[in-house]
């Protein structure tokens, strides 16, 4: 029986052979034939979602059931319209919105907020330790840090089939704003390389899809060094072990807009990538510590109370859970943790990253067709 590793190896071998043919033998080829051309390869994300481990009936992770009192249900229960009482917008609707945007820490929940239990979660061992609060991965790896899963695991919005999870997937692929892109450089092998460099960027172009909508490798992506350079470009080091990229901790800023022009993004501190890297795609997880304020605000900005209601998500209860379960980056003054361990599951396709030249990046004139053509020409010239 073929192991996953051997399947990856054979696929990489074939793809490596394809690279040799496509590249006309001009590229530097490593001993295992998996070195990308110019020792560099880029991938663009077409799916990013919070890692939520789900059992079929949720009995394991949510033995009390999932949350059922969302904003709509709570409003109905708290302000019954058939009781003859006249309610006011200021005391009801605005009071609810005020609590969403300015949640009160320490306030007792109006209705029980159910957090995920269980021993299993998807994620990364961020601190190299196995603590009582840690999880074991579905594959049996101990020490998984993902306290955010406790917050989100029993909220329908984050579970399979939920509208927000599905909508986020669609929006992420549709909005160029969200085009998270990584580029690996100094790569001598996609199977084993003890020193590679990873840089995150934002891409500016739509992803290549076939007639069925499946994402295809080989599309071009202009790298945004004009609008997002200060925020989305981060560099770190890592290694590839048996086809899996593992990076050292690095702070990244993840574009996660959903509504039109919400500009929403959030900070993941000490992010560690664990991705199976292949010539045509990469997939795996990005672990890290989600900045609590950034995570919470991003979600509220990207989604309104209406959307929270789809999946029975009460934002202030989420905020209180986030602050209570936060386990990283203590505030030097108060000692309160400002970030919570988290994991995103990601799927990416290989793309040809088009770097604007320095002049363009600095002077920022380049999004016209002429510059685009120059960039492509430059990229092609470099490749020859």
């Amino acid at each position: 029986m073929k192991t996953e590793h051997s399947r990856v190896m054979s696929r990489l071998g074939l793809a490596g052979l394809a690279l040799v043919v496509v590249g006309g033998g001009s590229a530097a080829i490593s001993a295992d034939n998996t070195a990308p051309r110019d020792r560099s390869i880029a991938y663009a994300a077409h799916e990013i979602k919070l890692s939520v481990y789900e059992t079929p009936d949720a009995k394991e992770e949510c033995p009390q059931g999932v949350n059922t009192m969302g904003p709509r249900e709570a409003f109905k229960a708290l302000y019954p319209q058939d009781a003859g009482q006249k309610w006011k917008v200021v005391d009801t609707q605005m009071a609810r919105e005020a609590e969403i945007w300015w949640p009160t820490v320490g306030k007792a929940e109006e209705f029980p907020f159910i957090e995920a239990e269980g021993k299993t979660a998807i994620g990364v061992d961020l601190d190299g330790k196995t603590k009582p609060s840690d999880f074991t991965s579905p594959e049996g790896k101990p020490g998984i840090d993902n306290q955010l899963y406790r917050v989100t695991g029993c909220i329908m919005n984050y579970r399979r089939g939920a509208s927000i999870v599905n909508s986020e997937r669609q929006k992420l692929l549709a909005y160029h704003f969200n085009r998270l892109l990584i580029e690996l450089t100094d790569v001598d092998s996609l199977i084993n390389d003890d020193d590679v460099t990873i840089t995150t960027y934002r891409g500016l172009d739509a992803l290549l899809q076939d007639a069925q909508g499946a994402f295809q490798a080989g599309g071009s992506e202009r790298i945004d060094m004009r609008w997002g350079a200060k925020d989305f470009v981060h560099t770190g080091k890592g290694r590839i072990v048996n086809g899996v990229l593992k990076t050292d901790p690095m702070d990244i800023f993840v574009p996660q807009e959903v509504a039109f022009s919400s500009g929403a993004a959030s900070t993941l501190r000490g992010a560690q990538f664990e991705l199976k890297v292949m010539p045509d795609r990469a997939e795996g997880v990005i672990g890290g510590y989600a900045d609590v304020e950034s995570f919470y605000r991003r979600f509220n900005r990207a989604w309104g109370t209406h959307f929270m209601s789809y999946g029975q998500q009460v934002p202030p209860a989420v905020y209180r859970s986030l602050t209570r379960l936060a386990d990283g980056y203590p505030d030097p003054k108060t000692g309160e943790n400002t970030a919570i361990s988290a994991s995103y599951s990601v799927k990416m396709v290989q793309v040809l990253a088009l770097h604007p030249d320095k002049k363009i990046a600095d002077a920022a004139p380049a999004s016209g067709a002429a510059q685009f053509a120059e960039s492509v020409a430059s990229s092609q010239a470099d490749a020859k």
């Binding site: 609707q93 605005m94 609590e99 990207a302 309104g304 510059q371």
Partner: protein, 510 residues
């Protein structure tokens, strides 16, 4: 560079270039005007050469573009198609919205087309005015997830629909003229309509040229059912239209794709040939098309005719990534086309790069926000101005606490006596405790900058989450329904991905 950052020349001078483009195409300037333009260009060129830009330089450069934009474009106003008007009615070419119909006193006309909301629809259909004198006292329940039947804020002083939007009544002997008709109101009175749409004025407009009631800008997916200014048709050929944007009235094709002009062209002569045509598609006219107003048809090659605006040949940019884009203007010597420029922000404001594009900043390059609000009553009144209940804003900006509000979302303070020189930007005294208008002598009153007669804000935030660096837009979409129903929206001058700089929406599935 202690937190400051360098802007590309295009960011700083783009506005000036847009303005200059329109200026240059006319070829109808006096010697003094040409001399002034020459001096301005020299100043800009010199400034470009010394652009190791610090914040102070940016502010200065903004002043330069403001100078370039003013004067050179002030005389250019959008042309429109003349048509017979009822007695006393007029067209006023306003600064941001272009030509708008108005009454004899200069009060702008608006209409209120029906729109579907989450839980029903509001607004009017043609020929049937519904905006009456009864005061709505309860929510209509259009705004999911909240139900109907809840008492509105400040209900005892809430205006009726017809008080906030006075109908344009017709006298008993009024006669229809062209598209101008007379419709029957539910209260038995007669009301003027244009193209079937019942007409109203706004209680926010005080003098001719004010268009504070509504704008073509800021109509997005979750906004309430807003009113629109009623305008005459722009005098453009049928395959073009004009969109209101933050930079000016942008000429686009009928399907909203931007058009451009090229400095290398002559008057009614295209020099874009060969490789140039790989990136730019001439906008061709029908063989039977004739020149009209500022639009001319010239023969590009034998038998092939191309449109020109104010003498400049018109093109599409093949690399535009979205409708109403400004992408093509990134290419040197190519420019978007405007019928008229919008008034520039007051001195001291900055234009800065953010994650989503060019956004207005204050002198410290902090993003400048406007507050957007529409209530959930059947008449969908605006609650985004200081004469409306502030409970909505206080809920999202400070959890209901005005003191928290002013710390998290401080008003942008204007110097005493500051003048903008236009009707789009201005100043106003505000009582920060109530959020309402105040007189200058009221203790604690703040003199604040306004955009369209509404205060503007920055975002200081709290618990470390606020706008810290120039690229931050952390309060963009802050509030109910992504900030579009009751919240904060940045003043976006160039939206790279979507269309928050214009009043149109982009189909994002590509």
């Amino acid at each position: 560079m202690n937190g400051s950052r360098t802007l590309g020349n295009d960011e700083v001078f783009g506005y000036a270039r847009h303005a200059a483009a329109i200026t240059k195409v006319t070829g109808r300037f006096s010697f003094q005007q040409r001399a002034a333009i020459f001096v301005r260009r020299r100043v800009m060129r010199i400034l470009r050469n010394v652009l190791s830009i610090s914040i102070g330089t940016i502010v200065a450069a903004i002043g330069v573009y403001a100078y370039a934009a003013s004067g050179s474009t002030a005389s250019f106003k959008e042309d429109y198609i003349r048509e017979p008007l009822p007695p006393g009615f007029q067209v006023i070419v306003t600064e941001l919205e272009g030509p708008i119909f108005a009454d004899a006193q200069g009060k702008s006309f608006y209409y209120w087309p029906k729109k579907q909301l989450r839980n029903g629809d509001a607004g009017e259909v043609q020929g049937k005015p519904t905006c009456g004198f009864d005061v709505a006292r309860e929510t209509a329940g259009f705004l999911s997830p909240y139900p109907p039947g809840i008492e509105l804020p400040e209900v005892d002083t809430r205006p009726s629909c017809a008080a906030a939007w006075p109908p344009v009544f017709a006298s008993d002997d009024a006669k229809p003229v062209g598209k101008w008709t007379i419709v029957d109101r539910l209260d038995g009175r007669k009301q003027w309509a244009y193209d079937g749409w019942s007409l109203y004025t706004s209680f926010l407009d005080k003098k001719p040229g004010d268009v504070y009631g509504a704008s073509q800008l800021f109509h997005h997916g979750e906004t309430n059912v807003q009113r629109y200014p009623m305008r005459p048709a722009p005098n453009v050929p049928p395959q073009f239209s004009v969109q209101t944007t933050m930079l000016g009235r942008l000429v686009v094709l009928h399907d909203d794709w931007s058009v451009y002009t090229f400095d290398g062209d002559g008057r009614n002569k295209s020099n874009c040939e060969g490789a140039c045509l790989d990136g730019w598609a001439p906008v061709l006219s029908a063989a039977s098309a004739r020149s009209v107003g500022e639009w001319s048809v010239f023969e590009r090659t034998p038998g092939v005719k191309q449109w020109a605006f104010r003498g400049k040949p018109i093109y599409r940019h093949m690399g535009d990534s979205k409708i109403a884009a400004l992408d093509g203007s990134d290419t040197p010597r190519w420019h978007n086309v405007y019928t008229q420029m919008a008034p520039e922000p007051p001195q001291g404001f900055t234009m800065k790069k953010t994650l989503m594009g060019l956004v207005l900043g204050d002198a410290n390059q902090k993003t400048v926000y406007q507050y957007v609000c529409g209530d959930d009553a059947i008449d969908q009144l605006a609650c985004d101005h200081p004469d409306a209940p502030q409970a909505y804003r206080f809920a999202v900006c400070g959890g209901g606490d005005p003191d928290k509000c002013i710390k998290a979302f401080p008003y942008l303070i204007a110097p005493v006596g500051a003048k903008s020189g236009n009707q789009v930007w201005g100043t106003m005294y505000i009582d920060p405790k109530t959020g309402k208008r105040a007189t200058a002598d009221k203790p604690g009153a703040l003199n604040v900058w306004t955009f369209r007669a509404r205060p503007v804000y920055t975002f200081a935030g709290y618990k470390g989450y606020g706008d810290r660096k120039p690229s931050d837009i952390n309060a963009q979409s802050w509030g109910e329904f992504n900030g579009e129903r009751n919240g904060y929206i940045a003043l976006v001058y160039r939206d790279i991905f979507e269309n928050f700089d214009a009043g149109i929406q982009v189909d994002l599935i590509n």
